[in-house]
């Protein structure tokens, strides 16, 4: 009897242990994602009439929607302005941390500090710093004899400010990930290179960078997925608080912000779902491109 119980325990308990994950993910992750595709085929208004089937209408409307293209461009622009510099600075910062600095942990904790901040708090603080009339950044620009910039109104400037927020938050975190990978590189590889007469720069490009490749790919993919879904920063950057417009002429509205606006301000669930699916495709395409690109770039010098 005891043995039978023990055998059942061994055979079936493992499924019980992993079941919660699959249940929760199935219900709140996978199902909504797939159901989004279904909702996208309807004219589905919250609290409105019965949803009517409209086929691909939402998608054709979307492709002809100027605002959608604006938000797509904004998203990509902010993404490029943030992920590029972020990666470069993270690698350089990791190189600094990879020297024998004392106290090692102290510096690492300091670098990671922004990661602890809430996005909302940071969004509000940076909106204040980049304010047109009383913002500290503009005051500094004036001190140096430069012109004030209307950070919210100017399209490119607003992208720059938002990217700055993103970079401020994530660069230290990424630097630590790169640092971990740097520390895993065996010392004798460098020693051999020194014997062969390779200088510091050559060592960096011929040894460090190629060996960091898996880490860089990982970082690029995660920052692509995160960066293309950017929402909190542009929402809080608006001078009209609570607005989902991303500025007076949508100059910094991102796709996720547009999705949110369509669903929960305009209550058009069908249209919002279509946006979600197009964003999903964009993310997949960009993750793919970035994957190939990083593989090539980090492979230089091999």
């Amino acid at each position: 009897m005891r043995d039978r119980l023990g055998e059942w325990d061994l055979r079936f308990s493992p499924y019980l242990y992993i079941a919660p994950f699959f249940l929760i993910f199935g219900l709140t992750g996978l199902f909504p994602l797939l159901y989004t595709a279904y909702v996208a085929l309807f004219d589905w208004e919250l609290g409105g009439a019965e949803p009517t089937f409209v086929g691909l209408d939402n998608f054709t409307t979307l492709l002809a929607d100027e605002q959608f293209w604006t938000t797509l461009t904004n998203t990509i622009s902010i993404f490029l302005l943030s992920s590029g510099p972020q990666l470069v600075i993270a690698v350089l910062l990791a190189a600094l941390l990879n020297t024998r600095v004392r106290p090692a942990t102290g510096w690492r904790v300091g670098v990671l500090l922004p990661y602890a901040a809430s996005l909302v708090a940071i969004g509000i603080i940076f909106a204040n710093l980049f304010g047109r009339d009383f913002g500290l950044v503009n005051t500094l620009l004036e001190v140096f004899g430069l012109d004030r910039i209307d950070w919210q109104a100017n399209r490119f400037a607003s992208h720059l400010a938002i990217a700055f927020m993103v970079n401020w938050r994530w660069t230290g975190y990424n630097a630590l990930i790169v640092l971990a990978a740097m520390q895993a590189i065996p010392k004798d590889v460098y020693e051999a290179a020194v014997v062969d007469g390779a200088g510091a720069v050559r060592r960096f490009f011929s040894i460090t960078l190629p060996l960091l490749r898996p880490t860089l790919i990982f970082m690029v993919i995660t920052s692509t997925i995160g960066g293309l879904q950017i929402f909190t920063e542009p929402k809080l950057f608006d001078t009209r608080p609570g607005s989902n417009n991303g500025g007076s002429s949508n100059q910094f509205q991102t796709i996720t912000l547009y999705l949110y606006q369509s669903a929960f301000e305009n209550q058009n669930f069908g249209y919002a779902s279509a946006i979600a699916w197009v964003l999903f495709l964009v993310i997949i395409i960009f993750a793919g491109i970035n994957f190939l690109l990083t593989r090539r770039l980090a492979g230089v010098g091999r």
């Binding site: 061994l10 308990s13 493992p14 992993i18 199902f31 500090l113 602890a116 996005l119 603080i125």
Partner: protein, 273 residues
Amino acid sequence: MSVGKPNATVYGLLLAFVLGSAFPFYWSFVVASRDSATVSQRVPPLLPGGNFFANAAKVFDSVPFWKALGNSMIVAGTVTVSTVLLSTLAGFAFAKLRFRGRGVLFVAVVATLAVPTQLGIVPLYMLMAEFGWANSLEAVIVPNLVTALGVFWMRQYISEAVPFELIEAARMDGCSLIRTFWHVCLPAVRPAAAFLGMFTFMTSWNDFLWPLVALDAGNPTIQVALEKLQSGFYIDYSLVLAGTTMATVPVLLIFVLLGRQIVAGIMQGAVKG
């Protein structure tokens, strides 16, 4: 392996970076501790003033701050305990137990890491309304009870930290699987569980988009309350930044106290070449 001896330039650059990291926190406290008039001066003040508590008091009048703080504690606390326990349980099964389909199921877990669940917010909102959870904390808690990242992280750790012999020995003594998990596995994974716990708490505490969708202004989490704080026609930055300062303190405190472990955890979990 560390390379080279740091010189003054290295320390200088690092110091500049850390000061830049800390500055926005400091600045928000400076603004929060003054009144809104001084903030609109042409030459901004660089030192804190004495108005912080007055501004904080106004925050309590403007939004249900304590309720929001309590809600965030409940949400982040529940999510953290549940994520750590359920991820460890699943990680234990994937790392140490033999069962059919184990490999495929684990690949499925890893694959879900790439799925941006944010994109399903519309149906998720409908689903939560269907369950009668619209505007209640369940809507924010349930989707985050366990995460793929947690399962993956704990599996990796348990694979290395818990020897098969230990599990065998417990089984010989007549322990059921669940008791083996509780008495052998759980104590052995404390460091990884602690890191996962901190990480989950911070993520959950700072989550914004989904709580904004799922909860209304009367029953917010702290992040949603902060956003509402600045949704008037006129923004009183002293007030708003007093709010953000107060909401950031708990996480900053955790971070300063446990920063070493958080850093060690990130370094350990990073993808290595």
